[in-house]
Amino acid sequence: MLRTEEMLLNVGPQHPSTHGVLRLVVKIDGERIVEVEPVIGYLHRGTEKLAEDLNYTQIIPYTDRMDYLSAMTNNYALVHAVEKMMGLEIPERADYLRVIVMELNRIASHLVWMGTYLLDIGAMSPFLYAFRDREQILSLFNELCGARLTYNYMRVGGVKWDAPPGWIEKADAFVDYLLPQMDEYHGLITGNEIFVRRTKGIGIVSQELAIQYALSGANLRVSGSDWDLRKKEPYSLYDRFQFDVPVGKNGDLYDKYLCRMQEIVESLKIVKQAIDQFPEKGTIMGKVPRVLRVPEGEIYTGIESPRGELGCHIVSKGKDKPWRLKFRRPSFYNLQILPTLLVGESISNLVAILGGIDIVLGEVDC
């Protein structure tokens, strides 16, 4: 028998395909991966510790910096938990604005994933198309709250800024623009033979494994579980909209791609309905005490972020600051399965499988 030798290969922390600062210590035997150890923590800022010295409004900008591709859902995860504990009523107009920005943010996040994932696999141009369209969403957000990534938009009890005149129409026009645009994407990518050969049947996650690792978002749905918190534990106004939850069949990378592309379409549907139902008038902030004191107790609430279940666990002692604030970050859970998926694979699939998980390191490290 041919004698082979195992070799250690270091990937990252500075490497374009790790989408941030993730380090992988990979043991390979020829081109087969024998063992993988992810090393994380390069972007750990101690958000949970810092939050213990901040009041709830001050924590909101810190949540922007966790999943920086989808700051709106992060904002919401926090304010939703606080509102639920305080039993606050949210004005309808604010709630609709929240749904619109959260879904637009989901689209923007999926577009980034789609673009960079194709870049990982070796296709340059879809990235440019995706960023062109994402730019429009960022411009909309910029107009709404003055920031392109770290929005700091939501407040306990409502939102900070009302939609400027004509903004809703612009958002509506964007939905009308992007929906037919999806065909262009499919024409560009979906049938591409190289893309199909690199993703079909690769990185398969079984349903059992996905549940065992508590995966969420597209990573869970791709294996056949019909699990979306917007449907299963409806929060905000999600019970008012008609939309489907795309579910995969084979659990491979190709299905993940199709799932996320379909999720963009579903989000567009939600935005469209929210704009149709959008109340003409109304306040954007509910009645909220000047100092936010959250009653003593404990709560865990989860919402569906683009990456999966983003949970917020608050332990309060009745003060204006949390005693303990814990975020259940979907990327942290989803990344955990990587060594299991990679062992036995060819080294050339490493980047494809890692990219398929769709991690954001700001969220993994928190």
Binding site: H44, M85, I211, Q212, F332
Partner: protein, 191 residues
């Protein structure tokens, strides 16, 4: 043990108005939670499968949407965890969240479990004393617990016994102290 709920609720209702007579309104006795039968069922099942002593406390967390909450004795946690996951009636197969909390006098490890088939949720708490804190690892029951336990070990210094790879995950290996402990002293206090 059985009627932990009523026992706790009753004295609080009496004590409150005397302490703060001005601000507090007359407290109405709470209606029994709709989830009370579910909680009772869980407690009976766990006691039957693991032992009377396993459940040290149980109540309904009303703020969190009537979430059944059960405090499990540390020594019985691994057996309880295996039962919670494998029993056909409960089948809590999805670990939704795992958090450590420092209550200054003791630690608590909080598990939020979900059953994908019945859609029921439960919050399990395991207490650990501050000195040489340790809790049995459940990473072979729910694989998702692996990194979470490492994170809690990293930030709270709670040992998870029989964890396959217990080492710091977010902080560097040579870090001194456990930042999320309430008595942690940061290197630079000005920050």
């Amino acid at each position: 043990m059985k009627s932990e709920d009523e026992k706790k609720e009753a004295p609080r209702a009496k004590a409150r108005p005397s302490k703060r007579p001005v601000t507090k309104k007359e407290e109405v006795p709470l209606e029994p939670s709709p989830k009370q039968p579910v909680l009772d069922q869980y407690v009976t099942l766990i006691k039957g499968a693991v032992g009377e002593q396993a459940v040290s406390e149980s109540h309904i967390n009303r703020e969190a949407g009537h979430l059944p909450t059960i405090v499990i004795r540390k020594e019985d946690w691994l057996a309880t965890a295996r039962y919670l996951k494998r029993s056909d009636e409960l089948s809590f197969d999805y670990l939704q969240s795992l958090a450590g909390v420092d209550y200054a006098s003791y630690f608590e490890v909080v598990y939020v479990l979900l059953s994908m088939s019945t859609l029921q949720k439960v919050m399990i708490k395991v207490k650990a004393e501050r000195e040489e804190a340790s809790v049995p690892s459940v990473s072979d029951v729910w694989a998702a617990a692996n990194w979470n336990e490492r994170e809690i070990f990293d930030l709270f210094g709670i040992e998870f016994t029989d964890h396959p790879h217990l080492k710091r995950i977010l902080l560097p290996d040579n870090w001194v102290g456990y930042p999320l402990r309430k008595d942690y002293e940061p290197l630079d206090k000005e920050v």
